[in-house]
Structures are given as structure tokens and as C-alpha cells.
């Protein structure tokens, strides 16, 4: 049992099947379990699912850019830039996602007359994710040690060549796993945008729940749909991590 991989995978699967079976049989409301009621509103469901993916991709891209700016500020020799970036990051790390999204909505989006909740949500969430991206950049930059910079210098590479041939190729490989980790945080966190009225997956399923009264069924579908987005990403991250480990 120590090394037989298929056997162990099979046993683990069996364990989870047994667990699911137990939960289903133990669930007191199973006699009137109406999962099909949720699928009756599949157009709303699909809209929420797609919106969650769109929001996540946009927030991912914008927060990478914003995080890189924060990284540059944090590394700046001009101390005031460094302090601004560091204070902002610490504030974010100390704030629950939901609280920050609601506060930015009422104190930034509303005063700025940003009526589009979709946009307002993206702005707030991008601000929230920036410092996490900043940390990913910081970690990746540390993977290139000082001796390499000395070697680049004495070998005569220009600044452009240093980034193009030596720093970036190494950075891309190291930064992918934490970035995918951050994307998973974004996807899960996007459910909180429901609280400022963005029509994403969580929000749309609550709508369906209120129409069908299939509350438990709604949450079960939600659980599976979020996993259907995040699990492939986690496997992707593991794959990249393995690749990176082979040359570090």
C-alpha cells in the first residue's frame, strides 16, 4: 500500500464515494430534493457562471498590472513611494475581502457616481488583489540572486538584454504558480461581489433559490460549479510547480 499508486488512488476514490453516499443518505430532506428545479433556470445560471469567469479574468489582468505598480513603488529608492505602497498593502492584508468590497463601494464608487455595479465591483476587487500580486512579484524577483546580476553586469549585457534573456524567462516560470493561486482567490472571492449587487454566479443562484425555494440544491450546484473553475487551475499550478522544480 506504500507505493502502489493505482491502488491508493482507487482507495481514496472509494473513501470519497462512501463519504458522498453517507451524506446523501443521512440528509433528512432527500425525499423532496429537487435539483432539476435549479436547472429550470439554466439561462440565469449560465449568465452567472460566465459573469464570474469574465470578472475573474478582468480582475486578474488589472490586478497583475496594479500589483506590478505596487511592487515597483515598494522597491523604489524614493521612500515616500515605498511607504505609500507598503501601508496600502498592510491595510489590505488586514481587511476581510467582504468588508473591503463594501467599504470601497460606498466610499469610492458611490461618491464617484460609478453606477455600474459590475465596474464598481471590478475596481474594488482589483484594489484588493493588488497587494497579493505585489507579493507574488517580490517572491519571484528574489528567486534571481545577486550573483546573477553581477554575472550579467560583467558579461556586458545591456539592460534590455538582461530582462529579455535572463530575468524574464526565469521570472515567468516562478511567478505562474502564485499567480494561479491568486486567480483561485479571485474566483472564490468574486462570490462576495453579490453583496454589492453584481450578477455573478452566487448572486444568480440566490435569485434562482428565491424563485424555486430549492435552497440546499442551489448551494450544492454552486459548490460544484465553483470547483469546476478552480480545480483545473489548481492542477495547472501543480504542473507548473513541477516544471519549475526541475531546474531550480
Amino acid at each position: 500500500m506504500k507505493s502502489n499508486k493505482p491502488l491508493n488512488v482507487g482507495l481514496a476514490l472509494l473513501f470519497y464515494l462512501a463519504l458522498v453516499a453517507f451524506i446523501v443518505f443521512a440528509y433528512p430532506g432527500r425525499s423532496n430534493f429537487r435539483i432539476e428545479a435549479i436547472f429550470g433556470y439554466s439561462n440565469i445560471l449560465v449568465k452567472g457562471y460566465i459573469n464570474t469567469i469574465i470578472i475573474s479574468i478582468i480582475v486578474l489582468i488589472l490586478s497583475i498590472i496594479f500589483g506590478f505598480v505596487l511592487y515597483l513603488l515598494s522597491e523604489s529608492k524614493i521612500l515616500v513611494f515605498k511607504y505609500i505602497s507598503n501601508v496600502f498593502s498592510e491595510v489590505i492584508f488586514g481587511t476581510p475581502t467582504l468588508v473591503f468590497l463594501i467599504v470601497t463601494y460606498y466610499f469610492i464608487a458611490v461618491p464617484l457616481d460609478l453606477r455600474n455595479r459590475f465596474l464598481a465591483g471590478i475596481v474594488g476587487f482589483t484594489l484588493f488583489m493588488g497587494p497579493y500580486m505585489r507579493n507574488a512579484f517580490m517572491g519571484a524577483m528574489k528567486s534571481i540572486d545577486d550573483t546573477q546580476y553581477q554575472a550579467m553586469k560583467v558579461l556586458g549585457f545591456t539592460s534590455y538584454q538582461k530582462y529579455r534573456y535572463i530575468i524574464l524567462p526565469q521570472l515567468v516560470k516562478v511567478i505562474v504558480p502564485p499567480m494561479i493561486g491568486n486567480l483561485a482567490i479571485i474566483i472564490k472571492g468574486s462570490s462576495l461581489l453579490n453583496f454589492i449587487g453584481v450578477e455573478e454566479l452566487y448572486n444568480q443562484i440566490t435569485t434562482i433559490q428565491s424563485r424555486t425555494y430549492a435552497v440546499v440544491e442551489g448551494y450544492l450546484i454552486m459548490f460544484l460549479l465553483y470547483l469546476s473553475i478552480t480545480l483545473p487551475l489548481i492542477f495547472l499550478a501543480k504542473y507548473f510547480e513541477k516544471k519549475v522544480a526541475s531546474w531550480i
Binding site: T147, Q148, Q150, A151, K153, V154, L155, G156, F157, T158, Q161, Y165, I166, P169, Q170, K173, W247, I248
Partner: protein, 241 residues
């Protein structure tokens, strides 16, 4: 190579590392810098190679006024080997060598590969050409970085304690590589603790202590030191347990 140091001072914060160093050496090909830790040997090497600039003083190497010259041009004419190998971890041994030739020295890739493969063959590393640095030993990696510094046909190669990160067996293979530089009449300057090796590989020795050059001369000064300080140093490092 010809070398001239005039009144070189180097400080890190308030600590004086090189204290008004003067040195004239003419027409030597292998120079060994020896002395106890903290003597300023590595710092002197870094100044000569242009990696660092002195607080004050003038450095001339062959016809280069190192302190005034455009560094990016100077770097194309010298090689530097660090204490630990500095190969780029994401590139193969071969690409580590050809990248510099191709991008910095604008040599066509086919020609660059030929230069690199010839050197890898000569230095018995050809079988490892397609491996990344993590897949070869520390000694092989250090030899590959010596090859990388040689590939550009530099006027001088600087070696900063190239074996200090290696165990005795790997040290031996790297020292053998450096002896080959001697056979090829390459100009090189090495910071080393290996006195026996210095006797074999160098034709000139500079002994430093506390940021000053105490004694310098042909390699025979290692057998017949004139100053007590060099004599003490040699006694200490050749002490058998």
C-alpha cells in the same frame, strides 16, 4: 599583461578595504593574489575588472584606463569567474556560453556554437553541453563558467577564489582547468589560498594584508620571502596537521 595601480583607496561605509595601494607590474601573464581573509584581494580584483569603482586612485590595465573607460566596452574585453559559479540556471551549459557571444559580442549563432563546442571539447565538458547547471556538479559548473569567460577571447581573465565553494576533489579538477590557461599563455589574475597551486600556475605573486600590498615579485618569492609577514603567512598556510 601590464598593470598599474596608483594610490587606490576603497571603503565600504567607513571601513577602509584598500589603503593607498600602489603597484606596477609589466609583462606578466599569470598573477596570483594571496593573503589572509579580509586583506582586500577580492576587492582589488573587482576594481581591476571594473565591477566596482574605487573611491580614489587610477587603474590602468594594458592600455585601458579602467577608472575612466566606458565600462560596457571594457566588460567585453575581460572575463570574470566568481567564487561560486554564476551560470544562468534556466539555460543549458552550451547556451550559457553562446548567449553572451551572440547577444553581447554580436557573433553569428553558428560561429558562436562552434567556439563554445571547441572549448567544451578542450576542457572535457562536451558531454554535458545540453544539461542545465542544476544537473552537473559544482566543479563542472565552475569549469563551464571559466569557459564562458574564455569564449569571448578576453585580454585578461579574473578569477576570484574560484575553488572556495568546492570540495577538495572538485577543487582539483578546477585547478587543472586553470593550469590549462597557463599552457595557452592566457593572461589571468587569480585570488587563491592554494600556495602550491600559485607556484605552479602563476609567474607573479602579490601578497596583501590589511588593505595593503606587503610584497610582490616573481613566483620565487613564495620560496624565499623577503618580508616577515609573507614568511609568517606561508608558514601558517603550509602548516601540516
Amino acid at each position: 599583461m601590464d598593470l598599474s595601480l596608483k594610490d587606490i583607496v576603497q571603503k565600504y561605509e567607513d571601513k577602509i578595504i584598500l589603503n593607498h595601494v600602489n603597484l606596477e607590474i609589466k609583462n606578466k601573464s599569470g598573477i596570483a593574489l594571496i593573503g589572509p581573509s579580509g586583506a582586500g584581494k577580492s576587492t582589488l580584483l573587482r576594481l581591476l575588472s571594473g565591477i566596482e569603482d574605487p573611491i580614489s586612485g587610477e587603474i590602468c590595465l594594458n592600455n585601458h584606463e579602467v577608472t575612466h573607460e566606458d565600462k560596457s566596452e571594457y566588460f567585453k574585453k575581460v572575463g570574470f569567474v566568481f567564487q561560486a559559479h554564476n551560470l544562468f540556471p534556466h539555460l543549458t551549459v552550451l547556451r550559457n556560453i553562446t548567449l553572451v557571444l551572440e547577444k553581447v559580442h554580436h557573433i553569428e549563432i553558428e560561429k558562436a556554437e562552434k567556439i563554445a563546442l571547441d572549448l567544451l571539447e578542450q576542457f572535457e565538458l562536451i558531454e554535458h553541453k545540453d544539461k542545465i547547471p542544476a544537473k552537473i556538479s559544482g566543479g563542472q559548473a565552475q569549469r563551464a563558467s571559466i569557459i564562458r569567460s574564455l569564449a569571448i577571447s578576453p585580454e585578461v581573465v579574473f578569477l576570484d577564489e574560484p575553488t572556495s565553494a568546492l570540495d577538495p576533489i572538485l577543487t582539483h579538477e578546477v585547478l587543472k582547468t586553470i593550469l590549462k590557461l597557463r599552457e595557452k599563455k592566457m593572461n589571468f589574475m587569480i585570488v587563491t589560498h592554494e600556495i602550491t597551486f600559485a607556484k605552479k600556475a602563476a609567474d607573479y605573486v602579490v601578497f596583501m594584508e590589511n588593505g595593503e600590498v606587503i610584497e610582490h615579485g616573481d613566483v620565487s618569492i613564495l620560496d624565499h620571502p623577503k618580508t616577515d609577514r609573507l614568511k609568517n603567512f606561508i608558514d601558517k598556510v603550509s602548516y601540516d596537521i
